[in-house]
Symmetry: C2
Subunit: 226 residues, 2 copies
DNA sequence: ACCTGAACACCGTTCAAGT
DNA sequence: ACCTGAACACCGTTCAAGT
């Protein structure tokens, strides 16, 4: 039954950076950053820990590469058409959904200043900010505001996902947070207690988009000065 | 010369959570999160590693406590007066400056969803959003947008600070980032190359505040609906 | 009640040695 | 060129034992 095996199928179990990243993403998805271990990884790949170091410089590079792999696939095509606002929303939602599916990447992104993934998102947003007609000097901080907001939400979602024991339900988590907010001192935390009620039936994704639109509304004031 | 030593001064070297946190902050300031080790910490405090565990549950709690200590002192007084916008800017700048002085705390904040520090900032912002006259249902996402933007910037600054070798100059770092942006492909990264020039004489703090104002401008559109 | 410090169960990383 | 796996230099954390 091995007769049909040709050269092309040979050594499909050979180590490569791609296979390492693929296995790393699986481990990260399963158990977060602490689950990614060179020992566990090399066991999965049926090699020694040292073998990985021939393809990857260190754990940091592996984490960066894994984050890149996730987010490259998550970005919508650049020529999608539509208004600049729609294009910005599409990029933002792409990042958001990717982080929701792979929370460990959220931690990574906000730790990776000027890394290729972040740069690509920044570029995409910046181009649309230009298309909106924001004057030159303001383009930088307008695009930065959007990027930092997106990264901030990404990190918060990652943190939330990590604090959740696997198996805990989504609404269960919201209930716990709402309970925490309600347990706060009424005099010191009036605002949080007020919105605790809204937490239960609130939609993370819709709220995230509302934030994007809020910043877009602010950007709009830059294009038609008072 | 020990005659004047009274009971009050006795055992001033006794271990306490406060002394542990104080020492931890010093180590974090000196070398970032990786410099904080229970062994190094106990050596500084002249005890064994186990002693620390009597006052602190684990490293995570210590990190949280250290972050709290930094940010509690950084927040402006709640009754500072002025417009809601000014109050929001004051809180934002308080966080920004604290992170600039203690970059490790920036990493921490964005990993600590619903932690006391973050909740306090959220509360302060939320109250001012209410004061601005934002209608009830929109208060939540308006305050969230501001908070997430602030946390996003905090994390980016922390990441930047960590990537910088100690001793590297500030302008030197900006030059390196500008050089990186300029080295990008012209066709793929036109926006980044355009703003790379602005990077050299750009003021992080002013840019951060411009972002806050941008979101405030967006929030203003919520109070007087079209 | 509070502290000691050896020991446990891990890490990331290196490197001589193999093929 | 690529892989092996023992070894190094660490970690956070525990816990019997001390005072």
């Amino acid at each position: 039954m091995a007769t049909r095996t040709r050269n092309t199928e040979r050594r499909e179990d050979a180590l490569s950076k791609e296979r390492i990243i693929e296995a790393a993403v699986e481990m990260l998805d399963a158990g977060g950053e602490s689950a990614l271990t060179f020992r566990a990884l090399s066991a999965t790949l049926k090699t020694g820990p040292g073998a990985i170091y021939w393809h990857v410089a260190n754990k940091g590079e592996l984490l960066t590469a894994a984050t890149d792999a996730i987010l490259t696939g998550a970005m919508p095509p650049a020529d999608a058409g539509g208004t600049p606002q729609e294009a910005i929303r599409a990029v933002a939602i792409g990042v958001f959904d990717a982080i929701e599916a792979h929370p460990w990447a959220g931690e990574q992104m906000s730790q990776l200043a000027s890394q290729s993934t972040t740069l690509r998102v920044f570029e995409r947003i910046g181009r649309q900010v230009q298309a909106l007609g924001v004057p030159g000097p303001a383009q930088f901080f307008a695009a930065s505001a959007l990027l930092n907001y997106i990264l901030g939400v990404a990190a918060q979602n990652a943190a939330m996902a990590r604090s959740v024991q696997q198996g805990t339900d989504r609404t269960e988590v919201l209930d716990m947070v709402a309970a925490l907010w309600n347990s706060l001192d009424t005099d010191e935390y009036p605002f949080l207690r007020t919105i605790a009620a809204q937490l239960r039936d609130h939609d993370d994704r819709a709220q995230f988009l509302a934030g994007v639109d809020l910043i877009l509304a602010g950007i709009a004031t830059l294009t038609r000065p008072a």
